[in-house]
Amino acid sequence: MKKDKVRLTVNGRSYEFLSGRDFEPGDTLSKLLRERLGLTGVRVSCEQGACGACTILMDGKSVLSCMTLVIEADGSEILTIEGLNGKDPVVDAFVNTYGPGEGTAMQCGFCTPGFVLETHALLNENPNPSDEEITEALSGHICRCGCYHGIHTAVKKAADHICSCEGGEQNE
């Protein structure tokens, strides 16, 4: 696959990137997003698809941006963590998981954007996941601080919030 030009929508803004000027043919999407656009919430760690830190959403589905070439993403709509804000229900749930027995949904915070975006991908497809479905969806991510309990709790809270909002709209 060879492409001279790649068009992307990143966090709602349209871009056109030229091969040789903005990226090299072998460049990964994570490199472009971080170094060309300065989106450093895209975390790169293992570069072998083991840790999930570099997860972004491509057309609503989770993708490992360090395992995806820029040219493979042509024409797609990309969401990175920078495309969310503090009102986002998933972000809010990750922040506000701190109650007795919950621990927290992050410690060092390096892996957190990947988990947040994976949660979005899950809830896009399945707004009311079971405990097992949450675990299965998020098990491609490593949190070495081990906040799995807090993260699981946060995903449930986010799902509950989204479900209650959707339910509310239906009632209206």
Binding site: T40, C51, N96, P100, G101, G109, C111, E136, Y148, H152
Partner: protein
């Protein structure tokens, strides 16, 4: 099944400290706004930046005889090549990686033994992966990597040695001839007994004579697991004409500054080191600065450009938890007492010293007084051996994890021999001489009692090992326990010296604090903010009014304090409490001048300064500041720890496991983690440590295991796919419980939680496996192969006995 309510209850009610609330940086972390080394050093931010690559030895033990770097030097995009025969590097002499976290400088301070076993870019490789031979700086990481491949090297292969029993043999190849030309044993120059650490108390020979039973165990832990953090070690260094600028994710900027000063001769005020957030720590920074800092610095000097060095996924497997083996004889009585320990501790430190030696030394420091104080007779011999394996280093829970694994099983054996419940045996023999009621340590008693309740010990514990029912025809369950002391209180961290904080009160009553520390996830920043708000109650300050500045900068900020030993939260809380007193005094002094009163005549409440004799005569602090000079009030405070011993509290780890007797797998079904920390700084953060620590704790015991090709000494699974760390799918149900029973020194009197959050986990899992199937595993990790071998042995014995 619903979980029991384990909501933490404070001994002394507080508004912010010790409560459940979000981390101060939770939103920034969830939104990816927190920046790590790679983020603050994007090439666009540092134009002209080059990338460093250092040769990793492909051989476990080999020497460079001849090296041709001409092709690498000629490769377009290569700006500098530095070789092992470089006169400037060789003139730097030797360096050390021995534990420097609070000792600060390798050359000047001597708070611990130094072992000068390293050089910058050696010509002899001591393990397969050793950074040696040659390093380059090039315009892209790819060019740098290509340049290293173009270096033509003629090697002389040397015989390797991997295991400590082989390293001891008289004809063994010597790993560090410069350290000890005749043996692989690490020399302790200042010991009373050459080449050996010895500790003795009481009369162990008499204890053995008096014993009803002598229990012998041989336990090994380590050499198999590593930190596994997602952010890798690195730095960017720009050595300009009269200044060195450094950006790093090292956990202590000031220590890095001292290290670079030591090996460049550049004055301290001309070495500027900036760090900030760290993508987890797990102990990897506790050993001194890696040699890559100096190699990168000299490449920058040669190239005249900033140079970036970052480890990759494979290079991060740079150290393992040190491999330690303990042979312990315990003199015991029929009434369940341990009269004494006679122990030999040995460490395989791999190619370099990085903490292993301290692990064996730790037996004295961390064990005999802190948890086995009632056991009066002790003899210990400790040895450390060099081999050609990955260096042993500091991994979270250093030494204590290994010691807990080795010593806890003795109490199980004694329980089996005497018929006395294991928890009772622990109560009789463990503890220190603080928090005592009669012969009982109340901290230890409480964590055991609470943990047993949470795991349902009386009901679930098999009365005889392996005596439980068979589930589905092939599974068996068991419950186990491990106990250990909590990690470090005031006295244990005395060598930090003075540490500083500042509070800046702005005219609008908002506050900026400096409590500089690299935020590794341990949450020292949150605790500092909560402590500040707690102690500024007289100004009605809330945590959200306070800004904690996240960057450590040796030029602009106060000296930072290493977030190690999980003490940073309470050390900064103690300092904040004292700084708040100073701030109050300064406000009173200034307002008294304005009111033409003496400060002693005034007090502050609800952000008003008032006259004690006439409370109606009052001035709002914010009004005063805005309407006088609008100058912030800035308080600097330095303190050091209380130099008195108050002992340490305890933690208990209870585990329920299910063992598959057909394929040998072990699953942790449930855990209760109970920690007495004296005073909780942040309940959510502390419980997060109790929960999260188990991911590493369980991983090391059940899934994480470095594999080597022993023909070449090459690590085979040094990457994050083949080295299996726990994910959400593997994480069990864990119930955390925090307790404030023990009281330490200082305003709050706390002990740490994060570093020691899984010190008893391994011992508890091993104990639970034993309770489930009657198999005692001696060497970590617990693998299906070992389980099945143990079960086969039991069947063989049963057959012999005609069962």
């Amino acid at each position: 099944m619903s979980k029991p309510d384990t909501t933490f209850i404070q001994r002394e009610g507080k508004n912010y400290l010790g409560t459940y609330r979000p981390k101060i940086d939770a939103k920034d972390k969830a939104l990816g706004k927190v920046q790590y080394l790679d983020d603050i050093t994007l090439k666009g931010k540092l134009p002209g930046m080059l990338y460093c690559k250092i040769l990793n030895s492909p051989y476990a033990h080999a020497k460079i005889v001849k090296m041709d770097t001409s092709k690498a030097e000629a490769l377009p995009g290569v700006h500098a090549v530095i070789r092992c025969d470089d006169p400037e590097l060789r003139a730097l002499g030797r360096t050390t990686h021995a534990w420097t976290d609070i000792a600060i400088t390798p050359k000047e301070s001597d708070t611990i033994d130094r072992f000068w076993d390293r050089v910058f870019l050696p010509s002899r490789a001591l393990w397969a992966g050793d950074q040696m031979g040659v390093a380059v700086a090039a315009e892209t990481p790819e060019i740098a990597e290509e340049a290293i491949k173009l270096v033509d090297i003629k090697w002389e292969m040397l015989p390797p040695v991997y295991e400590m029993d082989d390293a001891k043999k008289p004809d063994a190849p010597i790993v560090h001839t410069e350290m000890n030309p005749n043996s692989n044993q690490l020399k302790h120059g200042d010991d009373s007994v050459v080449d050996d650490l010895v500790f003795e108390r009481g009369d162990i020979d008499k204890a053995m004579e008096d014993a009803d039973y002598i229990i012998e165990v041989e336990k090994t832990f380590g050499g198999t697991s590593t930190h596994g953090t997602l952010e890798y070690r690195g730095c960017v260094i720009q050595w300009g004409e009269d200044k060195i600028d450094v950006w790093t994710n090292h956990y202590m900027a000031d220590q890095t500054r001292m290290f670079i000063h030591d090996y460049t001769g550049v004055p301290l005020n001309r070495v500027r080191v900036r760090n900030g957030n760290s993508g987890a720590h797990m102990g990897k920074w506790n050993t001194g600065e890696d040699t890559f800092y100096i190699i990168t610095a000299y490449l920058s000097k040669r190239a005249g450009r900033p140079v970036k060095y970052m480890m990759n996924n494979h290079e991060e497997f740079h150290e393992t938890r040190s491999e330690n083996r303990y042979k312990i004889k315990a003199a015991c009585t029929k009434d369940g007492r341990v009269l004494g320990f006679d122990a030999i501790a040995e460490g395989n430190t791999g190619a370099y010293v990085g903490g292993c030696d301290h692990n064996v030394e730790f037996i004295v420091q961390e064990t005999f007084d802190r948890i086995y104080y009632p056991i009066k007779n002790v003899r210990l011999h400790a040895y450390t051996w060099f081999t050609n394996k990955i260096p042993g280093g500091v991994v979270r829970g250093i030494g204590n994890v290994q010691l807990s694994w080795a010593f806890n099983p003795i109490f199980q054996r004694l329980s089996d021999l005497t018929g006395i419940d294991l928890l009772e045996i622990i109560r009789i023999n463990c503890g220190n001489n603080f928090n005592q009621i009669g012969g009982l340590n109340t901290s230890l008693d409480r964590v055991l009692t609470e943990g047993a309740r949470l795991i349902d010990w009386d009901k679930k514990r098999n009365k005889t090992p392996g005596g439980g029912e068979l589930i589905d025809g092939y599974k068996k369950r068991g419950v186990g326990v491990g106990v250990w002391n909590q990690w470090h209180a005031e006295l244990n961290e005395l060598t930090r010296g003075y540490y500083e904080v500042s509070i800046r009160l702005n005219p609008d009553m908002s506050i900026i604090i400096q409590a500089p520390t690299s935020e590794t996830g341990a949450g020292g920043n949150s605790a500092a903010v909560f402590a500040c708000a707690e102690n500024l109650a007289f100004l009605n300050t809330k945590p959200e009014d306070i800004l904690w500045t996240p960057l450590c900068d040796t030029e602009l900020t106060l000296r930072d304090n290493a977030p190690t030993d999980s003490v940073i939260s309470f050390l900064y809380a103690e300092a904040m409490a004292e700084a708040a007193v100073k701030l109050k005094a300064e406000i009173l002094r200034r307002v008294a001048e304005y009111m033409e009163k003496e400060p002693e005549e005034l007090d502050i409440e609800n952000a008003y300064v008032f006259e004690k004799a006439d409370p109606e005569n009052r001035i709002e602090v914010g009004w005063f500041m805005l309407h006088t000079d609008c100058v912030p009030i800035h308080i600097h405070h330095a303190r050091h720890n209380v130099n008195e011993n108050a002992g340490l509290p305890y933690g208990a780890w209870f585990v329920e496991v299910e063992v598959d007797t057909e394929i040998g797998t072990v699953e942790v079904l449930d855990m209760a983690v109970v920690n007495d920390v004296g005073c909780v700084m942040h309940a959510s953060g502390a419980e997060s440590q109790q929960l999260g620590g188990q991911a590493l704790g369980i991983g090391e015991i059940l899934t994480e295991e470095m594999q080597y090709d022993w023909e070449t000494g090459t690590p085979l699974n040094n990457n994050y796919i083949d080295y299996k760390m726990l994910t959400m799918a593997d994480f069990p149900s864990v119930t955390p419980l925090l307790i404030e029973e023990w009281q330490g020194l200082g305003r709050y009197g706390a002990a740490g939680i994060a570093e020691g959050s899984f010190c008893g986990t391994g011992a508890a899992i091993a104990n639970a496996v034993y309770n489930a199937i009657g198999v005692e595993i001696d060497k970590q990790p617990i693998t299906p192969k070992k389980i099945l071998a143990g079960l086969a042995k039991i069947r063989e014995n049963d057959r012999k006995e005609g069962k």
